[in-house]
Symmetry: C2
């Protein structure tokens, strides 16, 4: 048993986040949407995008920098496209609205391509792309974010970690779920190494002069993350290009903030006005047998002989599937005690009761 962790039921975390958000004035429906995305983040093992970030959303509503009232609105629309104004609502409220709309259009004309401006952080990108799986469709989601990534050859952060998520349904509930930042790694991984005093692998980040560095301290103070591919010789310019592609689909197409015009990470001095993009594609409009081929593609890869015994070849989405299976087996989500204690402190300060339980140990 690990003394530094505790187990909490998914429904308890869900209701806790809802109550905290409502306590600061969030509409109950919006609070539920946010809680669902954050809990799903934790459930899938992406703790950096779960309960861990609740205080940020609480603060955004409390300070009024994020809107409490209203719903997203459609600004412009065709049978297959829409431009949506997120009206500065919580990211998941905007994301759900847009993804539902994209799916509706894909049901009618085979594809829905919906972009939003006036949005906010929406949690894990995969949450939205995966909504399409319920309709046996391909889903995609993209968002721009605050600048943390230094373009190839440069020394200044001008791009966010700009994630790409694509989900595609296979047979019997199986699926392909790609959910990746276009930076080599997430900022959280560099922070973790820094806290532990460990070096980072070459190709994660650079110093303030734009040179690759294995010192996480250099990356965090004046340097930045680098695009997937690392330096120019190993193809970093491709990751840089993908970051710009996401920006094109998001800030540029939506008429939202983009690139270095997006506010600084963790500085909420003005509204975020993020741009986001949501797509649904109906395989029914293309060749029959999509699910079978998708299953074969995934299985074929999972069954490849691994380069190292005991390290099986995975399909995108498998690590998250293992995390979910683990939670099911445990009967809850394992959390670090300091995250739970911190969030209980946040809750106490806004008069929320009961707090999250910290007394259930995680069986090893």
């Amino acid at each position: 048993m690990s003394a530094s962790r505790c187990l909490i039921m998914q429904s308890e975390v869900q209701s806790f986040i809802e109550r905290c958000m409502v306590a600061v004035g969030t509409k109950p429906g919006h609070a539920t949407s946010l809680a669902e995305v954050l809990v799903e983040g934790d459930h899938r093992g992406h703790y950096s995008h779960g309960l861990n970030r609740m205080d940020m959303y609480v603060k955004d509503i409390q300070s009024g920098i994020c809107a409490k009232e209203g719903e997203p609105t459609i600004v412009k629309e065709s049978a297959a496209t829409a431009l949506v104004n997120g009206n500065n609502l919580l990211g998941p409220v905007v994301g759900n609205f847009c993804m539902d709309l994209a799916i509706k259009k894909a049901r009618e004309v085979g594809i829905g391509w919906v972009v939003a401006n006036g949005s906010n952080h929406f949690g894990i990108a995969g949450y939205y792309s995966m909504q399409a799986l319920k309709e046996n469709m391909i889903g995609m989601s993209y968002t721009n974010t605050s600048p943390l990534v230094v373009p190839t050859r440069a020394k200044e952060c001008t791009l966010g970690t700009n994630p790409i998520s694509v989900a595609a349904p296979a047979k019997d509930g199986d699926s392909f779920v790609l959910d990746m930042a276009t930076s080599a790694v997430a900022l959280g991984k560099v922070e973790l190494h820094h806290r532990r005093g460990d070096d980072i692998p070459e190709g994660w980040g650079c110093d303030s002069q734009g040179k690759l560095s294995t010192d996480p301290g250099q990356v965090l103070s004046g340097g930045g993350l680098v695009p997937i591919g690392g330096c120019e010789a190993t193809g970093g310019y491709k990751g840089y290009g993908l970051g710009l592609m996401v920006e094109t689909f998001c800030g540029i197409l939506a008429g939202a903030k983009y690139s270095k015009h997006v506010r600084t990470w963790k500085v909420t001095d003005r509204v975020a006005d993020l741009g986001q993009c949501f797509v649904a594609i109906n395989p029914e409009n293309f060749a029959p047998g999509f699910n079978d081929r998708m299953s074969d593609l995934l299985t074929l890869h999972r069954n490849l002989e691994p380069a190292e015994q005991g390290t099986p070849v995975l399909s995108p989405g498998d690590p998250e599937r293992f995390s979910i299976e683990k939670c099911t087996e445990l009967g809850g989500i394992p959390y670090h005690l300091n995250v739970v204690n911190h969030m209980n402190g946040v809750a106490k300060a806004i008069g929320v009761n009961p707090l999250l339980p910290t007394n259930v140990p995680v069986p090893e």
Copy 2:
């Protein structure tokens, strides 16, 4: 002056390729389409996808493994989508047909998403995405290809270099043009190092045991290219995921061959039946001012202070723009003499006359 190179006018290469293709029975219109894509490849500096590959296409038509007669046909269609049968015609014939269709749909409903099965190698992916620029639209193109890439944790090639191309129009003829393989590098780069006896950087390829190798010989004999990002620790699983994403849009959605079911590279024992995907998106359907924002995004990056003096920060498409400017300045495309001599040999064997001129030196 370089004795190993010669300068040839674009129109001369165009007509030479057309005549060679027609000599083996290609329809004149199809020959023109192919020649245009190959010449554009060379013009943009991607010599691996230009004249250098003409013999492959000649052989494909000569052997009958690629169809001479007919045109692509629409199998299924909605206002925004289409499934096309390429009827085993030359890749550029299929590509042009599909991209035209995607643009037509984007004019009507804001987006066109067209996938093709029964296709063949189509040259540079950027040729098709860039067609959308003429209509002030965003264009995308994707294709699967023969297995050359080893998935993360595996030791067998199961994915092609599966390129992604996205083009977006800025102001005054400027544009963003991403055209990248989802492998760390192209096979041609590894072959070039091997011929020179040079090592390759770590993160380009692996040996037959799936271990990263700096020996190009190991990569070329039994090993393979690795996805963008290199090994697992530096994010190679993201490149692997992107390769699968391209496969999902191409072979899987189109019902064509996919992954390791695609025929072996350079072995034309059976029809290719490649899957390809072509998309056009009309910015008019989204927020006004798209071109202005796009220009600002590109300029903002080009004007960044470079990490190393004399190595300016680029926007995707800039290296190709420099290559085109160089050709304009020279009054033609510079070719290596052995490529030209080889292709003249191919032409002679099929009775084509006149051959390409080799007597114009390239001014240094």
